[in-house]
Symmetry: C2
Subunit: 334 residues, 2 copies
């Protein structure tokens, strides 16, 4: 057997194991799609070819919240609750801030000890390293793999303020924003851009002494949300109280998520969003692959090196770039 | 006079006014480089051609910190202090989270009333809109314009956790991270990736009742920083206490910044960083312009539309993208 058919057999076997719900195979498959090695990439593409028809069936839920709001405890509690309702769940993490050393704490299994030991839950730590094309690129493939492995709900966790929420929102069906009881400055400090991306807002830690502050915060956020554009027609983003510690409010949240998906499927918001996301996926991949193809081309690279030499003489990079690009992708080319 | 030479004259006049330090001209020039209109872009490139030789002389300082740490008050106080030391300052803002509606609060002049009325300070609010190629792309041009206008220190403000810090760090000489006194979870919650990008850490609000907590936080962060890789050789990231409200600690910070720049220039870290940043600028522009050139090409666009049709049949976007890119940028092309 030659190398090519050996590889092909290996990938078919891996794909079968993923489709059969084998967790170890899933981990192996995720490592493969996250790899930056060219051979791995070729194999990953083959793997995706096989599993693509089996994807798309899970509820994809984004879960964002700043450090300290109790995200791990929440996922432990809510994940456990979902499993009791008959779901199987995969917890993924997207964390753009770990770019430099990959020193991320998201998705760490030790943060969710109960869930990590439950056979109906799969927890995947954040990939390290800096991927061309942003955090979203490989995450979409990881989502596809988890769906192929049969998980019914995906919880895609992200942190903080900014680009990561936008990226995750472009990969999921429903975005949950986790907040904690706050007052004064902290209440005002939640950025508009972050709230606008939420389909459901949860105030966690709504227990004990914090309950009055939680109620007050909920009222405040409801008012702010009322002034923002609706993400889905006929859906007013609710603000729910919950305590991951005391396991309260989880049933109400579960019901809200159910209502959200029912409405989204009825009014075609769901299918439109999925179809747009597929287009965005294609676009991101195409742009990233154009760049890779460009970088792999020695003649183009030599021309590019020459540009870099001109930088020292004080020519504007913007000018150099626009002239170079017009030469490469010229209207006269086939 | 024909349209082209009229444009050319207009841009030369605008460039002269920017170089003479005319604030209104600077604002107009910044609006021009931030514009997405093709004609504006052509004019912006001409403007950059003229001003490029006059750029590079300012100290470029990044200032990041989550909402609520008192960034506006700090910039008011420290900006005023710098002006008293003979500097002229420009305050710019980069805020990726305002992508959707541009509802950003960064860089808002009303947040810094004293500084906004000082003739030696220029405050530029965040651009709205979603720029191809990330927030960094136009910001570099805005930096160049402010330098051409003669400002001696640029304070480039960013918010929160994540990509924006990385982007800003790739455009500046020195990164200051602004924190506030914290304890418990909040003390642990500062992400490693964010701390790793700091050259100087400041604990703001080190006044009154918060002073003990500020000291405790400083000790904690110093310990964490000691375990992280050094950004610049021989530079241990200091943690300084300051109170923007009581205007204390500003002189010590100013001195630390001075020491940082002296060392950076001595050990060539400064010049290496600037040169790398120029290369990154060229690379980002080249990739963005390749994409623009690609999108402006009707034949390529028609081929791309055909790909999108295939998505519905369950083909992997990753596969479609890689084959398309190889066809466009083929090794046989000139």
């Amino acid at each position: 057997m030659n190398a090519a058919s050996e590889h092909s057999l290996r990938i078919q076997t891996l794909a079968n194991s993923v489709l059969a719900g084998d967790r170890r195979a899933l981990s192996k498959a995720i490592t493969l799609v996250e790899s930056a090695q060219p051979l791995d990439r070729a194999l990953a593409l083959n793997l995706l070819d096989i599993i693509m028809p089996y994807t798309g069936k899970a509820k994809r839920i984004a879960l964002s919240g700043s450090p300290g709001v109790g995200k791990s405890t929440f996922i432990e509690a809510f994940g456990q609750f979902l499993i009791e309702q008959g779901e199987t769940i995969a917890v993924l993490a997207i964390d753009p801030s770990s770019k430099r050393t990959g020193g991320s704490i998201l998705g760490d299994k030790t943060r969710m000890p109960t869930l990590a030991n439950n056979p109906k839950a799969y927890i995947r730590p954040t990939p390290s390293g800096n991927l061309l094309g942003g955090v979203a690129r490989r995450s979409r493939e990881v989502i596809a793999l988890c769906e192929a492995a049969g998980y019914s709900t995906l919880l895609i966790e992200t942190v903080g303020v900014g680009q990561s929420e936008t990226d995750v929102s472009e990969m999921t069906d429903c975005s949950i924003l986790l907040l904690q009881p706050a007052s004064g400055d902290a209440l005002q400090g939640i950025k508009r851009g972050i709230m606008e991306m939420a389909d459901i807002v949860i105030i966690n830690k709504a227990d004990g002494d914090l309950l009055p502050a939680a109620r007050h915060s909920a009222a405040h956020y409801l008012q702010s949300l009322a002034l923002m554009p609706k993400r889905m027609p006929d859906w007013a983003c609710p603000v729910l109280l919950c305590s991951a510690l005391e396991k309260t409010g989880l049933d109400a949240l579960h019901e809200k998520i159910r209502e959200y998906f029912v409405l989204a499927k009825e009014n075609t918001y769901f299918s439109k969003k999925r179809s747009e996301q597929l287009s965005t996926w294609l676009e991101d991949e195409t742009l990233a692959e154009l760049i890779s193809a460009f970088k792999a081309q020695p003649e183009l690279q030599a021309q590019y090196q020459a540009l870099q030499q001109s930088l020292a003489s004080g020519v504007s990079p913007a000018r150099l770039a626009v002239e170079f690009a017009r030469k490469i992708i010229a209207p006269t080319q086939p």
